[in-house]
Every structure is written in structure tokens, then in C-alpha cells.
């Protein structure tokens, strides 16, 4: 299984900053967040950078897969 960036419980905008940093050095990044606002920010940012984005929700947590 691929490494997953665990960004649960972090205040805005730390999940976005960590995701942005990770995307600068990788083709594919998977992150887990538990705030709807963090999920929305990450997806919006990734789409603006022309990444493909998919996410699944389970028990209030969002696993977001971002790929070129």
C-alpha cells in the first residue's frame, strides 16, 4: 500500500500546505483529512493545478487521491 499523508485533526490551512509540499515532489499523493473544509480546499487546489482528484468518505474521514 502506498504511503498516505495523515492530515487529520490539523487546523486550516496546514493540510493544504502539507499537500502542496507533497505534490511538488511526487506524481501521486494520497491524503486523509477529517475536516470538510480541508477536503474542499485540497480538492479545489489540486484541480486548479490540473491534477486528477478522487476521494472516498468513510466515518467522517476523507481519503483523497491526487494524481497527474
Amino acid at each position: 500500500m502506498a504511503n498516505v499523508l495523515d492530515l487529520r485533526g490539523l487546523s486550516c490551512p496546514i493540510p493544504l500546505i502539507k499537500t502542496k509540499d507533497a505534490l511538488s515532489g511526487a506524481e501521486t499523493v494520497q491524503v486523509v483529512v477529517d475536516e470538510p473544509s480541508a477536503k474542499e480546499n485540497i480538492i479545489k487546489f489540486a484541480k486548479s493545478q490540473k491534477f486528477r482528484v478522487e476521494y472516498v468518505e468513510a466515518d467522517g474521514e476523507y481519503t483523497i487521491t491526487i494524481a497527474k
Binding site: M1, N3, V4, L5, D6, L7, R8, G9, L10, S11, C12, P13, I14, L16, I17, K18, K20, V32, D34, P36, S37, E40, N41, K44, F45, S48, G60, T63
Partner: protein, 356 residues
């Protein structure tokens, strides 16, 4: 542009002007700092007699965001990310805002009423956010929060319960809470109108994640202007409303609940912007998140109430006459303290794990 962004801007902008029309003080339709300060006065946390009224707009913010979060399934009691420091950041946010005489939301509403001192304050706010973003990029964080489970979940309801108690108390009139008989505390729209405006604004702010520090921060970090658009529409709506009702008066001097000490307007909101960026949201956003069950935001709001107490009991708040030496010392001390927190609070995270 998304209709929610437009609706939120209109409700805040036109709502603020209509609240003034119905009785609130000038450029005082909504303010997440001053109106919370009036609640602090109503509760006896400070003793300035003309700043005491449990403003239903704030009660509405909390109950509106709570109601929407419950309805949409986003109500999620959570917390545990360094509440003590969030309390301190809340105090700093309020002390800075009370030197400027308004939260950043009121800063924009003041400009929409022609008060150019709002521009000086907002420039300081943006600079403070810039400083906060530097700390965030260096790795600042207050640690992880976690979602509460089981019976502990009831703590998520505390802010909404407190707002409900306040609403009942203010609805019963004098007798329980302190109530000012002199302005600006005595000036207010009818309770039901203030409450409805606050409920609508709170629900929309919760849905759109409206936050001014977040708006500038996201623009600086990734060029995202989504949150700033809400404030742009709010400004235009309030400007139109102020022109229509004849409230607009352009200039620096003799503006309602305002002073012209530019340096302290700038530094006051600089402190608020810096503290808000480190706390993850502006004063309005903290109220909204508190309603949504975030106990860390509740601590920040408690800090804001305490900050109002400190500012007024120690004569450190601004007034129409300006900012006294105590206020100047409080702002500088606040910037130093929050700056040191920004430097040292870098809890080591282990963000990468396998198969979470």
C-alpha cells in the same frame, strides 16, 4: 460565481446596513469582536456601563452555524489541539480588534460606510496574515485535534447551549444580564430582527467557510480568491445600502465608533490578523466553528471574551478619542507574545503513515 457566495455577501452586506437602520450604532450591523465585547459587558466580564448588551447577532451566528451543521451532518464534536494557547490567541485577537474598534469584518463595513480608517486597519490585518503565513510555512502548528466519541460528544453542544441561555436571558430583558442605558450599548435593532439576521448570516458563513483571515491567507498561499469574493460582494452591498439610506460619509474624522490614530489602527488589526492566522480563523470563523462543535474554537471565543475584559478593565481599548498608553502597550506586548508563539510552536508531526 456560486450563488452561495453571492447570497452570503448580500446577507452580510445588506443585513449589516439594515441592522443599523433598525437601531444598531453606525457601521455596527455585524462585528464579531465589538458585539462579543458587548456580550462580555452583559455578563459582567468588564464593567464599562455603556458597552453592555447580549447582542443577538452573535447568538445567531452560533445557533445558525450549529443548526446548519446538525442539519447537513457536519456537526462533529472535536478538539484537543492546544486549547490553552488558543485561549491566548483569542485574547490577542480581541485586544487588537478593540484597539482598532472592530473585527476585520467591521473593518470592511466601516470602509463601505466611508470610514477610511478601515483601510489602515485592513492594511495591518493583511500584513499580520502575511506574518502568520511565514510562521505556517516554517512549520507552525498547535498539534492535532481529535473527534470525540461516546458521551464526551456532548461537549460539542456547549457553545450552542450557552448561546441559547443568553438568548433566553436577553429576551427576558433587564434583570439577569447587564443592559446599557447609554449608547452605544443601548443602541440596537429589535431582538428578533438581530437574531434572524445573525441566524441567516451564521448558517451561510458556516456553509461557505467564510473567513477573512482565511481569504487573504489562501490567496497568499495558493492564489485562491473564493473567500475574498464573499467580502467583495458584502462590501458592494453595504456600500449600496449606505448610499441609499444616506449613511455614507467619506473621510477619516468623526466617523462612528472610530479613531484616527493610524499607526494603532494598523498595529491593532496586525495583531488580530497574526493571531487569527495562527488560530486557523478570524473572530467570525471562530464563532462559527464553535457552533459546529469545535471545542478548540470555543476556547478561542472564551479567550476573546477574556480579552474584552482585560482590554476594558485595564483601559487598553481604543475609543473615539484614540488609543491610550495602556492600549499601545497591550498591542505591542500582544504582537511580541503571539510572534514568540509563532516561532516556537512547531509540534513535530508524523504526517506520513502506511495504510491509515
Amino acid at each position: 460565481m456560486n450563488w452561495l457566495i453571492i447570497a452570503t455577501g448580500l446577507v452580510f452586506g445588506l443585513g449589516a446596513v439594515l441592522l443599523v437602520k433598525f437601531g444598531n450604532p453606525g457601521n455596527y450591523g455585524f462585528c464579531a469582536a465589538c458585539q462579543l465585547r458587548d456580550i462580555a459587558g452583559a455578563l459582567g466580564i468588564h464593567s464599562v456601563p455603556n458597552l453592555q448588551y447580549a447582542r443577538p447577532e452573535i447568538i445567531g451566528f452560533i445557533l445558525g452555524s450549529f443548526g446548519l451543521a446538525r442539519f447537513s451532518g457536519e456537526f462533529r464534536p472535536r478538539g484537543g489541539s492546544n486549547p490553552a494557547l488558543r485561549f491566548v490567541l483569542g485574547m490577542a485577537m480581541m485586544i487588537g480588534a478593540l484597539v482598532f474598534l472592530g473585527c476585520p469584518l467591521r473593518g470592511i463595513l466601516r470602509v463601505a460606510g466611508g470610514d477610511l480608517n478601515g483601510l489602515t486597519g485592513l492594511a495591518g490585518f493583511i500584513a499580520g496574515i502575511g506574518a502568520g503565513v511565514v510562521f505556517l510555512k516554517r512549520g507552525f502548528n498547535l498539534g492535532r485535534a481529535h473527534t470525540y466519541t461516546g458521551s464526551v460528544q456532548s461537549t460539542g453542544y456547549l457553545a450552542a447551549a450557552a448561546a441559547l441561555v443568553l438568548l433566553v436571558a436577553v429576551g427576558m430583558g433587564a434583570g439577569i444580564l447587564n443592559v446599557s442605558t447609554k449608547p452605544p450599548g443601548s443602541l440596537h435593532a429589535p431582538i428578533i430582527i438581530s437574531l434572524i439576521a445573525g441566524l441567516a448570516a451564521g448558517a451561510l458563513a458556516g456553509r461557505t467557510r467564510m473567513c477573512l483571515s482565511g481569504g487573504f491567507r489562501d490567496f497568499m498561499l495558493v492564489g485562491d480568491t473564493g473567500l475574498l469574493k464573499i467580502y467583495g460582494i458584502m462590501f458592494l452591498a453595504a456600500l449600496a445600502g449606505n448610499l441609499y439610506f444616506g449613511f455614507f460619509k467619506l473621510g477619516f474624522a468623526n466617523q462612528p465608533l472610530s479613531h484616527t490614530m493610524h499607526l494603532w489602527n494598523f498595529l491593532g488589526l496586525f495583531l488580530t490578523g497574526l493571531a487569527a492566522t495562527l488560530a486557523g480563523g478570524c473572530p467570525l470563523r471562530q464563532l462559527i466553528m464553535a457552533g459546529e462543535g469545535n471545542t478548540d474554537a470555543m476556547f478561542c471565543v472564551l479567550g476573546m471574551l477574556a480579552g474584552a475584559g482585560v482590554a476594558h478593565n485595564l483601559n487598553a481599548a481604543g475609543s473615539a478619542a484614540g488609543v491610550g498608553i495602556n492600549g499601545q502597550i497591550a498591542v505591542v506586548a500582544g504582537i511580541v507574545i503571539v510572534g514568540v508563539l509563532g516561532l516556537v510552536c512547531r509540534e513535530k508531526l508524523v504526517p506520513v503513515s502506511k495504510g491509515v
